[in-house]
Each structure stands twice: as C-alpha cells, then as structure tokens.
C-alpha cells in the first residue's frame, strides 16, 4: 500500500504504472477488444492495388501487407510480449537469486567457482549470444523465452551475490546461527526475505529489457514466428514495405517503446521506494 502511495506521488512513475496496467488489461482482454480476427486476411483489408489500408475507417490502425487488421494483431502481440516478459524474466530472476544466494552464502571454492562463471558470462556478448541461440534453435515462443532468460540472469546474480555477502555478515544472522538455526532456516527465513525488494526491482526492470530483446529477435525473424503476432514480427513482416506503409512500423514500434519505458519507470520508482540508499542516484 505504501508503495502504491509513493508511486502515485511521482508523475512519471504513475504514468508508467498506468501504461503497464493498460497493456496487461489489453493483453488479457484481447479477444474481447479486438475488432477482427488477428489472423484473418480480409477481403476488404487491401486497397484495389493490393496495398495495405492506411489507418482510419473500419481499420483503426490500418491493415498489414496481407490485409490483416493491425490493431487486432497488436492486441494479441501484447500477449506474446507479456508472456515472454514474465516467463523469461521470472526464470532469469530465479536463476539469478539461486546463483547469487548460493555463491554469497557458501562462499569457499564452490561459491568462488559460481562467481567466476558469472564473470565469464559477463564477458559474453549478450545480444550476439541470444541471436545465435535463437537462430540455430527452432524458434518458438518458449525457446525465445529460454534464450532471453539464459542471457539475462547474470546481472541479477551479481547484485544478489553482493547483497547476500553483506547480509551474512550482519549480527542478526550471527545471532540466529548461535541459536542453532540450520542453513535452510537462515536462508529461507532471514536471507531470502531481505532480497525480495531486489528481486521485485530487477523483476520489473528486467521486463523492459526482455520486451526489447524479444522484439529485436522477432524483428530479425528468429523470434516468435508469424502468423503468431508479436510486436517485433509485425515490423519484421512489413519492413521492406515501410516507406509506403510507415504505420506498420511506427505503431508497433511506439508500443514497444512505451511498454519498455513504462516498466523502466515503474522499476526505477520501486528501486527508490524499496531501497532508500539508492534514492537520487542514477
């Protein structure tokens, strides 16, 4: 509740939250809101010359090169983006938490080994790795989610590691240990709860990264495959046509930008609220 109150006091965060809620509602209610079937190539969806219809008229945002309603496709595309955002990022945060806590708690050679491995992952060109994996595997929604999770967990792991190491040194952990608490109890009851804010912040910020990455992979044709609509593959399908029908690039592009921006704004506000030491910093 306090968090919600704080968000409402910052105009940019409130804007972000409003966009996030709108996108979620539109994704869930897509079948109800969509004026047309997103996959139907409509008879009156193309001009007499066979070109896509510009925005306005019966097709709110115009039609694509196959005569499908762009607005309906974008609504269903929101589902793709959000599913991938939540799944990929959920997995990334889970892996990051697991690796970070384990390395920060056990330390020793095993912890060291885990952190050296994250160092190694930091030296990987993330986008290139994602592109290579997505292209060489058979692309599908779940593969894209896995690929994104695989490149995105590293940062979470490093932050969780640093925080866990700080927590382990604290007096209340020492007190708990001297009372005879087992590792499981300390980890789940005392360390994990302190990491929840970090997980929430990175969970939110990470969705922005994920949405952008999914759009990029789909734009290259190696993400979500048509006819399943995704904001990225709508642009992929129409990029050679974009001089004649710029709306096919700009509407989905604007939605990708808005969604990523909104999750970034909310995540940034959450970081300020949940972690006062970070307040006012970059």
């Amino acid at each position: 509740m306090r968090v919600l109150n704080e968000i409402c006091r910052q105009p940019t965060a409130l804007f972000g939250l409003a966009v996030v809620v709108t996108v979620i509602v539109m994704a869930i209610a897509a079948p109800l809101i969509a004026p047309f079937n997103p996959d139907e190539q409509m008879f009156d969806g193309l001009t007499l010359e066979g070109a896509p219809m510009p925005p306005g008229g019966p097709f709110l945002l115009g039609t694509d090169t196959l005569g499908r309603d762009l607005f309906s496709r974008m609504l269903f595309g929101a589902r793709t983006s959000l599913i991938i955002g939540l799944v990929a990022n959920g997995i990334a945060v889970a892996i990051g938490l697991f690796v970070g806590i384990t390395a920060g708690y056990i330390r020793g050679w095993a912890g060291n080994l885990l952190m050296r491995f994250t160092d190694l992952m930091m030296a990987f060109p993330a986008l290139l790795l994602a592109i290579v994996l997505a292209a060489l595997l058979k692309p599908s929604l779940w593969i894209v989610a896995m690929v994104i999770a695989l490149v995105n967990w590293v940062q979470v792991a490093r932050i969780v590691y640093t925080e866990t190491r700080g927590l382990v040194e604290r007096d209340f952990i020492l007190a708990e240990r001297s009372l005879g608490a087992g590792h499981g109890r300390i980890l789940f009851l005392h360390i994990l709860p302190h990491l929840i804010p970090t997980a929430i912040v990175w969970g939110t910020l990470g969705i922005a990264t994920t949405v952008l990455l999914e759009a990029t992979l789909s734009f290259l044709g190696i993400g979500v495959q048509p006819p399943d609509p995704s904001w990225g593959n709508i642009i992929f399908e129409s990029q050679s046509y974009f001089q004649a029908a710029p709306w096919l690039v700009f509407f989905p592009g604007a939605v990708i930008l808005l969604t990523a921006l909104a999750f970034n704004l909310v995540g940034d506000a959450l970081r300020d609220i949940l972690d006062p030491t970070q307040r006012g910093r970059g």
Binding site: A123, F124, L133, T216, A260
Partner: protein, 306 residues
C-alpha cells in the same frame, strides 16, 4: 603495477578460453547441422557424410575442441565452411567498418550524454532535470531497430539528406552512428548526472565558488575532470557491448561490418565464423574493461595511491 597487469592478463586469457569452450559446446549441441546446410536440400546421405568428414565434424567433440584451441593459441580461427577462407582474414576485412561505426557512435553518445547529464545535475530537482531524465529514459527504452527505421524514414526516404544504406562516405556513417549514439546517450546522461551531482557536493567545489570563480570555469575545470572516471569506465564497457550489439544496426543499414558477417554466418550455420565473431566480441569486452581499469589511475591520481 606490472604484477597486477600480469595477473589480469592471465585472468583475461582464462575468461577467453572459457568463452571459447562454452560457445563451442553450445554450437556443437545445437540441432543445426552445418554439413546438411552446405550440402543443400537435395543432397544424398552420402554427400552429407562426406562433407561432415571433410570438415572434421565426424570426430568426437573433445578432439574437435582441442584442434580448435590448438589453432586459437596460434591466432588461427579456422576456415569458414561456406566461404572457404580464413576466418581471421574475414574478420580483419570487416573490422574497420565496425570500428568506424563504433567510434562515431561513442562520440555521439558521449557528446549528447555528457551535455544532458551535466545540464540535469546543475538543475537538480528542477524542470530541466526531470525533462532530461525522462528523455534519457525514453532513450534507454527505445528498440534499436525501430529508431533505425525511423531515422531511415525521416532523413533518408523522406528528406533525402542521407543515403538509405551502404558504406564509404561520411554521409553513410551518420544515420547508423546516430542510431547507436542516441540510444546509448540515455545511459551516459543518467550516469554523468549522478557523477556530477556527487562532485558538486564536494568541498573543493564550494571552495571554488567561494573564491568567486565563474560557473563556466568551475564546471569545465573542477567538476567535469572529476566526473570523467565513470565515463571512461562506461566507454570501456561500451566497446564490448557495441561489438556484439551491432548486428541489428548493421543489418538495417546494410553496413558491411562484423555484425553483418555474423548475421550471414548464423543463417548459413557457418560455425567457424560464429565462433570467431563471438571470440572477437568477448575479446573486445575484456580489452574494454582492462583499458578502463588501467586508464583510471593514469587519469585520476587519487586512485594511484591505493
């Protein structure tokens, strides 16, 4: 100093080896089969087997890997499957284009980012600060390919100021570099802002003010030189990120750099090239970080003492 450098170099070599090992195993484990790709669709099983034998792909993973590493330590990245040329030669041929693009992109980033970040820090809490920070946020949230297409549409297709794609003249560099620069500038602006805010709170800035120095002199002589470290570190990181991240921009603008080489290789499952570009990018990331770390004490005497 020298022992530190030696230690870091050994570490870097180990990381590079690790990257090579992981990439190698990943590419080996993926279902894409380069031999089948090369043979074409109508090839018989015998032809595919022959090609596989020719490329040495029928040998066990460990043998292949040892062979690759053996070449790597001698600077040999193997031969491209499809183009039949040395991978190292292909990479060197493409490197100047990517480096040009990278240099121009970083230049734009730094100019926009430092200007906006300083402006925001000096007007902390006021409207300008909020406007700049929101703009920076838009910058870091914008998808690269959409910005690329947008710039193409406005400045190439509609206004005709710049060519649609290609390489060679200064006009060709502007749009791709601007795409990279505009997006990266958001990160720089955020980081420069917090660095400058930190410096503005220092005693020596107050002293400079008390001495009656002009605002201009305070910023140029006292504030910015002290805020330069994070910028250097950021450029170091950027060099690496750019190498792996130019695939999209080079694809949209038809820029004949490393990213395009990688993209073509990925579509042909040309594993030696994919390996080579991945290693080159990892090397760039490592070098970027190393240079940033070792440049820091040269620039800032405060770090030298520790």
């Amino acid at each position: 100093m020298l022992s530190v450098l030696a230690k870091r170099l050994v570490q870097s070599a180990l990381i590079l080896f690790g990257v090579a090992a992981i990439t190698f195993v990943l590419l080996y484990a993926l279902p894409a089969d380069p031999a089948r790709m090369l043979a074409g669709r109508s090839a018989t099983a015998q032809t595919v087997a022959n090609i596989r034998h020719e490329l040495g792909l029928d040998q066990p993973l460990l043998v292949q890997f040892m062979h690759y590493i053996g070449g790597l330590v001698q600077g040999d990245l193997g031969r491209s499957y499809a183009q039949k040329t040395e991978v190292i030669a292909l990479i060197f041929a493409r490197l100047p284009a990517t480096l040009t693009l990278m240099a121009a992109g970083i230049l734009i980033e730094v100019i926009i980012g430092v200007t906006l970040g300083t402006l925001a820090a000096l007007n902390r809490g006021r409207f300008i600060d909020r406007a700049v920070m929101t703009t920076a946020f838009v910058g870091v949230s914008a998808p690269q390919f959409v910005v690329a297409l947008l710039l193409l549409y406005v400045f190439a297709a509609t206004l005709g100021w710049f060519p649609m794609s290609g390489y060679g003249t200064l006009a060709h560099v502007v749009l791709p570099a601007a795409t990279l620069g505009i997006l990266g500038a958001g990160w720089y602006a955020r980081m420069v802002r917090s660095a400058v805010v930190d410096v503005l709170n220092q005693d020596y800035v107050r002293t400079a003010r008390a001495k009656g120095l002009s605002q201009r002199r305070i910023i140029l002589r006292h504030v910015l030189p002290n805020a330069v470290l994070p910028i250097i570190a950021m450029i170091g990181i950027d060099i690496g990120q750019f190498m792996g991240g130019v695939v999209v921009v080079e694809a949209v603008y038809g820029w004949p750099g490393i990213g395009q080489l990688a993209w073509q290789a990925i579509q042909q499952v040309d594993i030696p090239i994919i390996m080579g570009v991945t290693l080159t990018s990892a090397l760039a990331i490592i070098i970027g970080n190393l240079v940033a770390d070792f440049l820091a004490p040269v620039i800032d005497p405060r770090i030298r003492s520790n």
